[in-house]
Amino acid sequence: MRIDKDLVAASATPLVLAILAEGENYGYAILKRVRELSAGELEWTDGMLYPLLHRLSRLGYVTTEWRTPDEGRRRRYYVLTDDGRAALAEQQRQWATVTRALGDVWRGPGGLMPALGGA
């Protein structure tokens, strides 16, 4: 399954915010987590993550810090702020509404689901 480009773009911000809500992280590990969560279905161009992270930083949703862990190379870590948590909560509300609406219409009488269900 190839997920539509617009859908990938739209889900990028809530995904990154949610991953950072699990704890501070750096770019490469965030991408790995995205692949893991979507079982490799969500394919991002790696470089695109960084402008997104910088935008979140400008909006005050995350703070950043360069750090060298005991083992490993110097990396820039991103930490979710309270504003970021609030933005994530808002995103969750919006996505919940969208998925509920889609679910209702697909399950509903004469909806797509029975037709697809046979396949």
């Binding site: 750096y26 770019g27 790696d46 470089g47 695109m48 402008p51 400008r58 005050g60 360069w66 820039r76």
Partner: protein
């Protein structure tokens, strides 16, 4: 990396060197993208190395791992465009304004700029001859100066952006047409104070009108508004530089021609109005095409003058608080404070446009907050005394204009102080402060428009 899997140690080392040099090349290549700065390249390189290490572990040769990692990173074109979208402030410094919609013209656009400059110079000269300025000083000439010059600036932007459709062309022209009608059809009484107020405020209105074609019609974008603020600041620097150069040239010409009996005043009458009008467009062109000359100046000017103004304002605020305002109060004072607030606001905007939004709060931000807070304290004292006395003095057009401007600036600086305090306390991002300023811009335009269009009828064109 596991040498046992990847082959004999000596080949391994050779391969590592190759990959190191490949990474260095890739790094240099990425660093060339205008919107990607050094620390971003560090970040991307760390990512690339993580990816290579993981692929190495999955049994790819170092060479292959590098290729795959680079491919995954995405094409540099797309990458740099994404970075450019997020970091337009960096782009601004690198002169790639307009992006890929605007092809670089080999002439650098100076022919067009010169054409529009010449248009403005001729327009003002014709009007001057008709007005017999400066032998006579008809107010209609003063009233219309903005209308004689700034349409050429707007035209220059509209021409340069090249992507305005018909609707946008009309929207660009409408403010100028309306202004021309309002300014010239109002039946001013002789020696009307409102007429001079219109002459002073109209250029401000039209400057904001020129912002529309400058932004290529995208007036809602806060980033583009910030670009326009930046443009205004740099334009002012260039205009002053041109004016200084022109002054030296004129003085020397006078000194040379004086012995053979040529009167320099007669020459200046011709040269100064046209020169100034042309310089408006030429300065705009210089900002657009020679940005990197000035971009280092705005930070230096702010670094230099923010502390000086902070000291001056703090001392003044303390002195006023001790001695009381009433003794020093007179009619002119409000005008002086308007000028002061404009300068403080200018400093704030300069500092903001030159600042990297992601930098944490520093000493300079604190000094700036001190300057803004002192200016606020001073202004509130003066304003309080003014409002208390307005009953005896009565409302005149000048007083209303000065008072209104003062309030507009006061609200802006109060907002600035509030957001800076929160920013310094680490409670909000710098971006909020920027947003406050860009959101507030239309208020300035609106107030100037009110003075031009509403104030004269309210005071019966007196």
């Amino acid at each position: 990396m596991d040498p046992v899997e990847a082959g004999p140690p000596e080949i391994q080392i050779a391969e590592e060197q190759v990959v190191e040099s490949q990474i260095a090349e890739w790094r240099a290549y990425v660093a060339k993208a205008p919107a990607v700065d050094g620390r971003d390249v560090d970040e991307l390189e760390a990512h690339l190395r993580d990816q290579i290490a993981e692929l190495d572990a999955a049994d790819l040769s170092a060479d292959e791992a590098f290729l795959v990692a680079v491919k995954r990173m995405g094409s540099l074109d797309t990458l740099s465009r994404e970075f450019a979208r997020e970091h337009s402030d960096r782009l601004w410094k690198q002169l790639v304004l307009g992006g890929d919609d605007e092809q670089a013209r080999p002439s650098g656009g100076w022919v067009e700029a010169l054409g529009f400059a010449a248009g403005a110079a001729v327009a003002i000269q014709v009007a001057r001859l008709l007005a017999h300025f400066p032998d006579e000083e008809p107010v209609w000439f003063l009233r219309n100066i903005g209308l004689l010059v700034l349409p050429f600036l707007a035209g220059y932007f509209a021409h340069r952006r090249r992507r305005l459709d018909v609707r946008q062309w009309v929207l660009t022209a409408v403010p100028f047409v309306v202004a021309a009608l309002v300014v010239n059809l109002y039946p001013y009484r002789p020696d009307a104070a409102t007429e001079l107020l219109v002459a002073a405020h109209l250029p401000v209105v039209l400057w904001f009108a020129a912002a529309y074609p400058y932004m290529g019609g995208t007036v809602r974008s806060h980033e583009r508004r910030m670009d326009f603020v930046r443009f205004t600041g740099e334009w002012a620097i260039y205009f002053v530089l041109i004016a200084l150069g022109g002054g030296v040239l004129l003085a020397l010409t006078g000194a040379i021609l004086d012995p053979i009996g040529v009167d320099i005043d007669r020459i200046a009458e011709w040269v100064v109005p046209s020169g100034a009008a042309g310089a408006v467009v030429v300065a705009a062109w210089l900002v657009e095409s020679k940005q990197h000359v000035v971009e280092n100046m705005a930070p230096v000017l702010t670094m230099l003058f923010t502390p000086l103004f902070a000291v001056m304002l703090t001392v003044a605020a303390v002195t006023y608080a001790v001695s009381g305002v009433s003794g020093a109060f007179d009619r002119e004072l409000l005008g002086v404070f308007d000028a002061l607030m404009v300068v403080v606001l200018g400093l704030v905007l300069y500092a903001m446009s030159a600042r990297d939004p992601s930098r944490p709060p520093g000493l300079m931000d604190r000094i700036q907050l001190l300057a803004v807070a002192s200016a606020l304290v001073l202004d509130v004292m003066v304003l309080g005394s003014m409002v208390a006395r307005i009953g005896d003095l009565g409302f005149t057009p000048n007083r209303v204009a000065a008072l209104g401007l003062n309030l507009v600036l006061l609200v802006n600086l109060a907002g600035t102080a509030w957001f800076s305090t929160r920013f310094l306390a680490g409670r909000t991002a710098f971006h909020r402060l920027e947003r406050w300023q860009t959101r507030y811009l239309p208020v300035f335009a609106l107030w100037a428009a009110i003075v031009v269009a509403v104030l004269p009828p309210v005071f019966a064109f007196a």
